[in-house]
């Protein structure tokens, strides 16, 4: 497949340029990464073919790598890349004498007429939004949605995505190729869904971004406990989505949630070990991100159409609003979890609520609630946070033997290195 070949070629070229001229190599790489999503989306819109768009984008990058180190990065690099890539695509279609067919297919796939007069978006909307809905289409497997979004909108290479999700490169390559084939064969459209379908489809896009962020924030496997390339990419894509859909409160809520979580990243791991919220050095929190997150939460409150991500963001706003752990407004946290439980009556939400209850009514009351949960939701037994929460409550109640068992149970199912380090130390400190 051309894509794999060009993936390597691009990486190699970047390395060559970077070694000759480190600053321009980095600059070109940055421009390309920033412009990639828009470039692909524009080409897909024009030619109706993802493979062709990717090949043309790759050729444009090669051209940039040849030209820009000498001439400097042009004033409008995105425009330069788009024009160059479109010309390469037309050349190729002309060579393959497929141009008319492709253009006709593109016109069929890409419907420029606004859908229903009630559609909230005008036809001039950003093409990346259309591509996001295509990549996150419910007809694609969830893991394929994540991979395609990172590949086509994030501009990550197949090896990078494979590494991030700890799957072999060939597996990830096949997953992406298969998804692209389905998009083409089943004619998954490039467009923003109609108003009636929009809430459900936006939820699918948000779920993909949230999963990408979480895989970065709570990375599985033996490597780094936090993969900043994934958290950063999720935030970047969430910012684009928010910019494109400023009036969707759940989009605002997700961005706020990611920013308020990211703000605590530096303070959350010390010496390879997880630092719990109440032990974190709040001076190490990123105040700028917190201010931005709080502002977004206020905007959600003003719209007053609460949803899952908005409530999670509000909970994080309460935490980041407290100057010290002692001053946390736990009754507010518990109330927000109650609100969340009404939307999403999952045992995980109830578990998180119990943590707030421990602060309000003491560990004994919380433990009774936590123990009650597993009876109705046996699935919690395979969730490390369930055992970690129990272990902490038992420790606070001085029930060391039971706490030790709970720490062991948590360690048996915990897959993040920093959390494992934390649980191991806590277990060792039991008397």
């Amino acid at each position: 497949m051309v894509e794999e070949a060009f993936g390597l070629r691009i990486e190699e070229r970047l390395t060559v340029v970077a070694s000759r001229d480190p600053s321009s190599g980095r600059a070109i790489e940055r421009v390309f990464r920033e412009e990639y999503g828009r470039l692909i989306a524009t080409l897909v819109r024009r030619f109706g073919d993802i493979d062709l768009a990717e090949d043309a984008a790759g050729e444009a990058l090669v051209a940039a790598l040849e030209k820009w180190p000498g001439s400097g990065v042009p004033p409008n690099p995105g425009g330069w890349l788009t024009t160059t890539a479109a010309n390469r695509a037309i050349d190729r279609l002309r060579r393959e004498k497929l141009r008319d067919t492709k253009h006709r297919q593109a016109a069929e796939m890409y419907d420029d007429t606004p859908h229903g007069s009630t559609g909230p978006f005008d036809p001039g909307e950003d093409e990346r939004l259309r591509l996001m809905f295509t990549c996150c289409h419910p007809a694609l497997a969830p893991e394929a949605r994540i991979a395609l979004t990172l590949r086509l909108l994030g501009g990550l290479t197949v090896p990078e995505i494979a590494q991030a999700f700890l799957v072999p490169e060939a597996t990830m390559g096949q997953r992406i190729t298969r998804a692209k084939k389905k998009i083409a064969a089943a004619k998954i459209p490039y467009r923003v869904p109609e108003a009636a379908d929009l809430p459900g489809r936006v939820a699918t896009v948000l779920a993909v971004l949230f999963l990408v962020f979480n895989e970065g924030y709570l990375a599985t496997g033996d490597g780094e406990p936090v993969r900043t390339e994934l958290t950063a990419e999720a935030i970047r894509l969430a910012r684009i989505l928010h910019q494109l859909m400023p009036d969707e409160p759940e989009v605002t809520g997700l961005l706020a949630l990611l920013l308020l979580t990211e703000a605590r990243r530096e303070a959350r791991v010390r010496g390879g070990e997880l630092v719990r919220l109440d032990d974190q050095d709040r001076g190490g929190w990123d105040r700028e991100l917190i201010a931005e997150g709080h502002e977004l939460v206020r905007r959600c409150l003003a719209i007053n159409r609460p949803g899952r991500y908005q409530i999670l963001a509000a909970i994080n706003a309460v935490h980041t609003d407290a100057p010290t752990a002692d001053t946390t407004d736990w009754s507010q946290v518990a109330a927000l979890y109650d609100q969340l439980a009404r939307l999403d009556p999952s045992p995980v939400v109830a578990l998180n609520r119990a943590v707030a209850v421990a602060e309000l009514d003491g560990p004994e009351v919380a433990l009774a609630q936590v123990d009650g949960l597993v009876a109705t939701a046996p699935v919690l037994a395979s969730y490390h946070a369930f055992h970690a929460t129990r272990a902490d409550l038992l420790r606070r109640l001085g029930r060391s033997a039971e706490a030790r068992e709970a720490y062991d149970a948590a360690l048996a199912v915990c897959d993040n290195t920093a959390e494992r380090a934390y649980l191991t130390r806590r277990r060792g400190e039991l008397v």
Binding site: T101, E108, M109, A185, A186, K187, I188, P189, D197
Partner: protein, 118 residues
């Protein structure tokens, strides 16, 4: 426009346990859905199938055709009927499939036909 196969899958045992008046209502709802598909101008073909036990498999790949009784797949769930429609894209096909599924009371698999060579 591309053609899509909307195939209804289900277990014949489950179907057999549905009370007669509900079955009649499903037929009526399916009839109304068929009318709607025709009115929308996307009808290519549709039909319900006799039970899978009436199926016969023919293997004509060898020198002489081999004929065997029974459906090709030994599963509990079989295709019970299908529509072929002409829809602009998958989203449109999925919307029709959802409505057809509700009418006939079965799960619907949506598959695109190969496009004709340009």
């Amino acid at each position: 426009m591309p053609h899509y196969l909307l195939a209804v899958h289900g277990s014949e045992e489950d179907y057999a346990s549905i009370p007669e008046d509900e079955v009649q209502e499903m037929y009526a709802a399916t009839g109304r859905f068929n009318d709607k598909v025709r009115e929308a101008g996307i009808w290519v073909f549709a039909g319900g199938l006799e039970p899978a036990e009436t199926a016969t498999v023919v293997d004509g790949t060898g020198e002489t055709p081999v004929v065997t009784d029974g459906p090709y797949l030994e599963t509990k769930e079989h295709i019970g009927g299908f529509w072929i429609i002409d829809a602009p894209d998958l989203d449109a096909a999925l919307t029709w499939a959802a409505e057809g599924s509700k009418a006939c009371g079965g799960k619907v698999e949506v598959r695109p036909f190969q496009s004709e060579p340009a």
